[in-house]
């Protein structure tokens, strides 16, 4: 497995979802390749940042939105 193949799989997926045999090949390559380990670390850092940013953006949901949803649903049909 080359660095290109390893990092492409890392970038396209969530490692925990991959078949065991693919994960094993990735870990084997990364154990010997510091650059792919670094790339994997960067992907994880990006994911953490994105997850935090996108979760926060929905935290300010108006308190009455659920009531409005209920009212709107009750008025349909």
């Amino acid at each position: 497995m080359t660095c290109r193949e390893t990092s492409t799989i890392v970038a396209e997926s969530t490692l925990s979802e991959l078949p065991l045999v693919v994960r094993a090949r990735l870990w084997l390559h990364m154990a010997a390749c510091r650059y792919c380990r670094r790339f994997y670390g960067q992907v994880r850092a990006i994911d953490r940042g994105v997850r935090a940013a996108l979760s926060q953006v929905g935290d300010e949901m108006p308190a009455d939105l659920m009531d409005r949803v209920l009212k709107k649903m009750s008025g349909t049909g």
Partner: protein, 194 residues
């Protein structure tokens, strides 16, 4: 009763308890997803309300083959797309594929070697920069981030909602992450060895 098991017959009859449970289980998640997809706060509020109304009006078409929450996400996605037509931006991001290939030598080893973790870039800088870079993503890339990273759906579940293959979801996730990496580097995050 377990989450996600609101009886469809009760919803069809507009049973107040069933409607309340449907709203309780899904309003916050849909609002967060709508904001994550790039809708403004006002647009997200409108879209979430529309999603529930559309769901009830199309309940007879829901065959129960997917979870109610997945069906609701699908409706939300179409609402979001109605509000944000940006195919030109999606096409612009295709150019990233060439950038990605330029990272490697012909034998598949790194040409632009990833740098060691950047300790100089503070977590506050990272948060600010990530927020800025997210604005530069296409709507579809943001949708994939929301579904895969925030809602933690599998590639297959995200594909089901977006009407794409698992492979295409992987490509979009790759492009979104690569785009973020390039953008963050432009804002001072050291990603490549000097």
């Amino acid at each position: 009763m377990a989450p996600g098991t609101v009886p469809l017959a009760a919803l069809a009859a507009r049973d107040p308890e069933a409607l309340r449970r449907l709203a309780e289980e899904n309003t916050a998640r849909l609002y967060r997803a709508a904001r994550g997809m790039g809708l403004s706060a006002d647009e997200a509020e409108d879209a979430v309300q529309d999603v529930f109304v559309t769901f009830l009006s199309t309940l007879d078409r829901f065959e129960g083959r997917s979870a109610v929450s997945t069906w609701l996400y699908g409706i939300l996605l179409r609402k979001a797309q109605e509000r944000r037509r940006a195919r030109a931006r999606d096409q612009r991001h295709e150019a990233l594929d060439d950038d990605w290939q330029a990272n490697f030598n012909a034998d598949g080893t790194w040409a632009r070697r990833p740098a060691a973790p950047d300790r100089q870039f503070t977590s506050r800088q990272m948060s600010r920069s990530v927020a800025e870079c997210l604005d530069d993503l296409s709507p579809q890339q943001r949708q994939v981030f929301v579904l895969r990273l925030v809602e933690e759906l599998t590639g297959a579940e995200a594909g089901n909602i977006l009407g794409l293959t698992v492979t295409h979801i992987g490509v979009l996730l790759h492009r979104a992450r690569a785009r973020m990496r390039v953008c963050l580097e432009g804002l001072g995050w050291n990603t490549t060895e000097a």
